[in-house]
Amino acid sequence: MKKFNKNILVFVFCMLFVGVGLFSGDLFKGLADSFQNAMSGSSDRFTKISKFEKQVDKTSSKNLLYHDWMIDVNSVKDNLTGTVYVTSKEVAKTESGFLVSPRKKLSDKDLLLGTDSVLALKNVAEENGAKFLYCAAPEKECYAELPGNVPDETRNNRATFLNRLKEINVPYFDMLSYFEETDFSIHDYFHTDHHWKPGSGLKATKAICEELQERFRYSFNPDLLRDENYTTQTYQDHFLGSYGKKVGTYFMWSGRDDFEIITPKFPTDLTDNTSQTEKHDFESVMLDKSKLSENYYNVNTYNTYKYPLYHTRIIKNNADNNEKKVLIVSDSFAQVVVPFFALQNAETHVCDVRNDQGLLGEKTNLQSYIEETRPDYVIVLYSEESDIKSDRYHFF
C-alpha cells in the first residue's frame, strides 16, 4: 500500500491558515479600496499602477483577519530567540524590561535650528509681556540601561541642547536633574510606550509649578496636586504603547501595561473650546474614555487623556480666581500634565505646532497668537531634544 505522504497535511493546514486570513478579514474590501484610491488623481498610468501595487502589498498584510495575532506570534519568536534590538523598528528592550528607542547623535545644524527657534519664541513671549520657560521633560531613554550593541545618544543630545540654551540665555527647566533628587525612574514610564505615566504627569505638573513659583513667583495651590486628592482607577493590561505596537505584545513577557485614570476628588468647573460636551467636570473635559479600548494595535489608549486634536486648545478653569493665563507649547508628554496644570490657571492655552499628527485646524503661528492672547506665561514642554527634524520647533 502506498505510504501516506504527510506533506499533504502541511499543504492542507497551510492553505486553511491562508484561507482563514483571506476570507474572514476585510481583505477584498481593502483591495477594492486600494484600487479606487490608486486610480484616482491625475498621475500617469505607470505611477497609478505602482501606487496600486504598493497599496495591495500593504493591504494584503494589514487586512488579514489575524494581523494583530501574527505580530504577537512574531514577538514571541523574537523573545524566545533572544532578540533585544529590532533595528528595523528602532526599538530595543532594556535589561529592566522596558522598551525604548535609541537616538542618533544630534547634528550641529539641527542643534542650532532647534535652539535658535526656542530663543526666537522666548523673545516674542517677553516682548509681549509674558514670562518664558523651556521645560525639558526627561525622555524614557535617559533612564535606560542598554546593552553595548545598542548605542543611544539621548542623554548626550539632551545635554548638548540644554547647554546651548544656557549659552544663548534661554531659561530652561531641566526636569531630569530635578527628578534625580527624587525617586523618579524608568518605572515612571510605561513599559511599552515612550510616554510617562499619568501619575508621573501629576509629579511633573508639581515640578513645573514649583519651578515657575521659584523663578517667577507663579502662584499655585499645592493641595490640588496632592495624590490623596485624586482617585486612581487602574485598567490592568490595557495599554499596548507605541513601542509595543511596533515589536508586538510579547517582545517582553510582561506584555501590555496597566493604565491609570486619575481624577480629582474635589469638584471642578472647566470648559474647553474644542470639546463637544456641555458638561464642565474634569472627566468630561479632560478624558476620552472611548480610547480605553481592547483594540490594542489600532487604538492609542494614552489618548484617553485627550490628545489636542486641534492645533490650539483653550481650557478655562471657571473655579480659578487669580486670572493667570498660560500658553503651553507642547508635545504629547503634556497630555498627562495639562489636565492637572489647567486646574492651577484661569486659562490654559495648549498648542501643538506639529503637523505630522494629522491635527485639525490651521497651524498656529505663535507670534500672532501670543500678540493676540497676551498670556502671562509661555511654557514649552518638550520631551525630545533629538527630534529637531519634525515640525516641533517651527513656531512661526
Binding site: N5, K6, N7, I8, L9, V10, F11, F13, C14, M15, F17, V18, G21, L22, L27, F46, I49, S50, E53, V56, D57, S60, S61, L64, H67, M70, I71, V73, N74, S75, K77, L80, T81, G82, T83, V84, Y85, T87, S88, P147, G148, N149, V150, V247, G248
Partner: protein
C-alpha cells in the same frame, strides 16, 4: 513580486494554483498560456516597464531558436546565430547592468565626462538572459526540441518560480516538461513542503543574519572602528545570510516548480562543508557553475589543452563569474580570488588529498577563504573591503572585542547555532534515518506548518526583506 510577501502567499499563489489545477486542468496549452501570463504579471509587479524588456528577450530568442533549428547543419550560420544571440542577450545585460560602470572606468582612465544615462536594473536580468542563451544553444546542440510556439519559449524564459533569482534552469532540463510534464500528487505536496522550507530559511534566518551583517559592514563603511570579534561576527553573519537567502530562494523556486510538474536541478548542496574551493564550487550556486562550465569553459577548451591555456580558460570563466554578480570591482576581485585558489588547487592537487586531519585543515582553509571572499562580495568598494578585512585581523588598531560584539553575539546566539547546524547535512541524515517512522513524519509536518505560520508572522511584522541576488 517577492515569494516572501503576503501578496504572493495570499493572492498570487492561490489564484495561480486554482486556475492551473482546476480551471485549465484539461488543457496543457491553456495551462502553459496561463502560466506564461501569470509569470509576466509576476515580473511586472513592481517592474511594470521592464516587462517589455522581458517580452523583447522572449521574442528575439524564440526567433533565434527557430533560425538555428533550421540552419543547424550549417556550422558557419549556426555559429553566427549563436554569436548574434549572445550579442543580443549580453548586450541587453551590458546596457542595463554594466553601462554606467564601463562609462565610469572610461572616464577615470581617459579623463572624459561621458553622458552616461542612469539606467535602472531590471530585476533578474542576469538570470533570464543566461537562461535565454541556454535555450538557443541547447536547441543548436539538439538537447531540446525547438519551440515553434513563442508562448512556450516565453514560459521557459519567464516562468515565475525561477525568474528573479534562479536557479538558472537549462533548457535541456525542462524542454520535455513544457509540453509533457506530469503533475503528481507527491510532487505537488513535496514541492509545497520544499517551498515552506525555503520561505523559512529566507524569512526567519537570512533576514535575521542580515541585521547583524548590516550593522558590522555599515559601521565599518561609516568609518567607525569595529572590534576584531565584531568584524568576524559580521562576516560570519553575512556568510550565513547569503547562504540562507539564496538557498532559501532556490528551495522556494524548486518547490514551486515541482508543484507545477517541473523538475529543476538542485542549486546548493551544503557548500559550507566543502574541504576545498573546487568542492565549494560544486556545491554553491551549482546552476551558475555548470552554466559557465558547459557554455564557456568547455567550448574554450576546458582542461583538455595545455596548462597555460587551461589557466587562461579558468581566468576568463572566473573573471566573468565575478562580473556576472555585479558591476563593481569587488565582484571582479572576488571572482579572481577564486581563480587564484582554484589554480593553486589544480597545480598542487591539494584538494584531492584525503585523511581526517588533512580534511579538517582543508575545511578550515576553505571556510576561511569563503568568509573572506564574502567580505569582498559584500563591501561596496575595494577600499571598504580592505578596511573591513584589516579589522578582522586587528590591523586597524581596533580592539579585540567590545560591547557591540558581545551584544550582537549573545542576542543572536540561538540563531547562529541553528544557522550553523543547518549548514550541515544533519537534518538530511536524520530524515533518512527516520523516513520510515510515522511519528517523525508527523513531527516534521507539524514543524513545517509552524515554520509557515512563523514566516507569515514575521512578514506581517516586518518590512525588512532584501533579496541579495536581486542585484543580479
Amino acid at each position: 513580486m517577492l515569494f516572501s510577501s503576503t501578496t504572493f502567499l495570499y493572492l498570487f499563489l492561490p489564484i495561480v494554483l486554482f486556475f492551473n489545477f482546476i480551471v485549465f486542468k484539461k488543457s496543457r496549452l491553456l495551462q502553459n498560456i496561463f502560466l506564461l501570463f501569470a509569470s509576466l504579471f509576476f515580473y511586472a509587479w513592481g517592474e511594470p516597464k521592464f516587462v517589455l524588456v522581458m517580452i523583447a528577450s522572449i521574442i528575439i530568442n524564440w526567433f533565434f531558436g527557430l533560425i538555428i533549428s533550421k540552419k543547424r547543419d550549417n556550422k558557419k550560420i549556426s555559429k553566427l546565430i549563436i554569436a548574434l544571440d549572445a550579442a543580443f542577450n549580453l548586450g541587453l545585460l551590458f546596457v542595463f547592468k554594466y553601462l554606467t560602470f564601463a562609462g565610469n572606468i572610461i572616464d577615470s582612465i581617459f579623463g572624459t565626462d561621458l553622458p552616461i544615462p542612469n539606467i535602472a536594473l531590471p530585476i533578474g536580468i542576469s538570470f533570464f538572459t543566461f537562461q535565454a542563451m541556454s535555450y538557443v544553444i541547447d536547441v543548436y546542440r539538439q538537447r531540446g526540441e525547438v519551440q515553434t510556439n513563442i508562448l512556450y519559449v516565453g514560459l521557459y524564459i519567464s516562468f515565475f518560480p525561477q525568474l528573479i533569482a534562479g536557479p538558472i534552469v537549462r533548457y535541456e532540463t525542462i524542454a520535455d516538461e513544457i509540453k509533457n510534464r506530469k503533475e503528481t500528487v507527491d510532487d505537488f505536496f513535496n514541492g509545497f513542503a520544499r517551498f515552506v522550507v525555503g520561505l523559512s530559511k529566507k524569512v526567519l534566518l537570512a533576514n535575521s543574519f542580515a541585521i547583524v551583517a548590516d550593522q558590522a559592514f555599515d559601521s565599518a563603511q561609516n568609518g567607525d572602528s569595529i572590534s576584531v570579534m565584531f568584524s568576524w561576527l559580521g562576516a560570519i553573519a553575512y556568510t550565513l545570510q547569503i547562504f540562507f537567502d539564496f538557498s532559501g530562494y532556490s528551495d522556494m523556486a524548486i518547490g514551486l516548480g515541482r508543484m507545477f510538474g517541473f523538475h529543476f536541478l538542485e542549486n546548493f548542496d551544503y557548500p559550507y562543508i566543502s574541504t576545498s574551493i573546487t568542492e565549494f564550487w560544486r556545491r554553491w550556486h551549482i546552476s551558475l557553475g555548470t552554466w559557465f562550465r558547459d557554455y564557456l569553459y568547455i567550448p574554450l577548451g576546458g582542461s583538455h589543452c595545455s596548462k597555460a591555456r587551461n589557466i587562461f580558460n579558468l581566468f576568463v570563466v572566473w573573471a566573468l563569474t565575478g562580473i556576472w554578480h555585479g558591476a563593481n570591482f569587488t565582484f571582479i576581485a572576488w571572482g579572481l580570488m577564486y581563480f587564484v585558489l582554484l589554480v593553486i588547487e589544480k597545480l598542487t592537487g591539494i584538494h584531492k588529498k584525503n585523511n581526517k586531519v588533512i580534511n579538517v585543515l582543508k575545511w578550515l582553509y576553505t571556510i576561511l577563504f569563503v568568509i573572506l571572499g564574502w567580505v569582498l562580495f559584500r563591501a561596496s568598494s575595494i577600499s571598504d573591503a580592505i578596511v573591513y578585512l584589516r579589522s578582522m585581523f586587528g590591523l586597524n588598531g581596533n580592539v579585540f572585542s567590545d560591547g557591540m560584539f558581545t551584544g550582537w553575539f549573545t542576542q543572536n546566539l540561538i540563531l547562529l547555532v541553528i544557522g550553523v547546524v543547518l549548514c550541515t547535512p544533519l537534518f538530511r541524515v536524520l530524515g533518512e534515518k527516520t523516513k520510515n517512522s510515522h511519528v517523525a513524519g508527523y513531527v516534521r509536518s507539524g514543524a513545517l506548518v509552524c515554520l509557515f505560520v512563523l514566516s507569515v508572522a514575521s512578514l506581517v511584522s516586518s518590512s525588512y526583506n532584501p533579496f541579495i541576488y536581486f542585484n543580479f
